[in-house]
């Protein structure tokens, strides 16, 4: 795997997902999430730790970049959207179900809604990552110096 492309995709994906995540989960659906907290009312942090959220976002940017670069062929915006969306949907469906299994953090409505919103969130992240990677020549394709 081309580590330069991996690093650029990770950073671009992390920034994109942080911004899009703020728009979706804080501005658009923040009140809905707040209204669907489960019995564990004291478990939510106030205020949130932005450094931890940003670091976690970089890891997910890295995961989507890894999935995009693992597939053969040049990345496209559409294929990047699909790969990001499926990765986000399955990953968060899993985590939401595991969290619901172990904790009273959210009502079950959030377990159903959250992966669907992640489909959009990670899909946009994947599309942006793919668009940037498509403009970067692979090091294997560079002419010998």
């Amino acid at each position: 795997m081309d580590m330069r492309r991996f690093a650029v995709g990770t950073v671009v994906g992390g920034i994109t997902m942080y911004v899009v995540g703020y728009l979706i989960f804080t501005l658009a659906f923040g009140a809905y999430y707040a209204a669907n907290v489960g019995a564990a009312t004291n478990a939510l942090r106030e205020p949130t730790l932005e450094w931890a959220a940003a670091l976690g976002g970089l890891a997910f940017g890295a995961l989507i970049t890894y999935v995009i670069l693992s597939a053969p062929g040049t990345p496209t915006i559409a294929s990047g959207f699909i790969k990001g969306a499926i990765t986000g949907f399955l990953a968060w469906l899993s985590v939401d179900l595991v969290l619901f299994s172990a904790t009273n953090l959210w009502t079950f409505t959030i377990v159903l809604l959250d992966p669907v919103l992640e489909f959009v969130h990670s899909g946009i992240g994947g599309a942006v990552i793919a668009a940037v990677l498509a403009r970067m020549p692979s090091s294997a394709m560079r002419p010998a110096e």
């Binding site: 564990a40 004291n42 478990a43 939510l44 942090r45 949130t48 730790l49 932005e50 450094w51 931890a52 959220a53 670091l55 976690g56 976002g57 890891a59 997910f60 890295a62 995961l63 890894y66 999935v67 693992s70 597939a71 053969p72 790969k83 499926i86 990765t87 399955l90 990953a91 968060w92 469906l93 899993s94 985590v95 939401d96 179900l97 595991v98 969290l99 619901f100 299994s101 172990a102 904790t103 009273n104 953090l105 377990v111």
Partner: protein, 145 residues
Amino acid sequence: MDIKRVVVGAIVGGITLHIIGYLIFDIAVADYYMANRATPAAFRDAPILWSLVLGNFAFATLITLGVAVRPGEPAMGSGFVTGAVVGFLGWFHFDFATYAYTNLWNFPIAIVDPLLEVVHAGITGAVIASVMAMVPKGAAIRPAE
């Protein structure tokens, strides 16, 4: 992509994730996780098993797709790497996001959990790749009847 192989991989992977997860998280390091609960009241007395099982199948599907998109025939070694990378990056994201927004766990869990997922998801990826390699490819290579 061969749907039959993906379905078989996801089912075998879900079962493997569940068994290995039980051995790691419920037996080997259960006391450590218990000692690092920051808000014990947020946790259920007994986990909801069906939700945990469904969550494992969702994550196994993600690992299976990661194995399936790689060029070439699935192999145990590359399956382990794919599972380990998906597990580490995915859970790094979830654990840091959870730490950013909730008081569920103390900080050491955000570090330890993704590292344990290297083993958990890595073994699962190796098992998925081994089983996928045993399943004959689908209709595309069958002779015309």
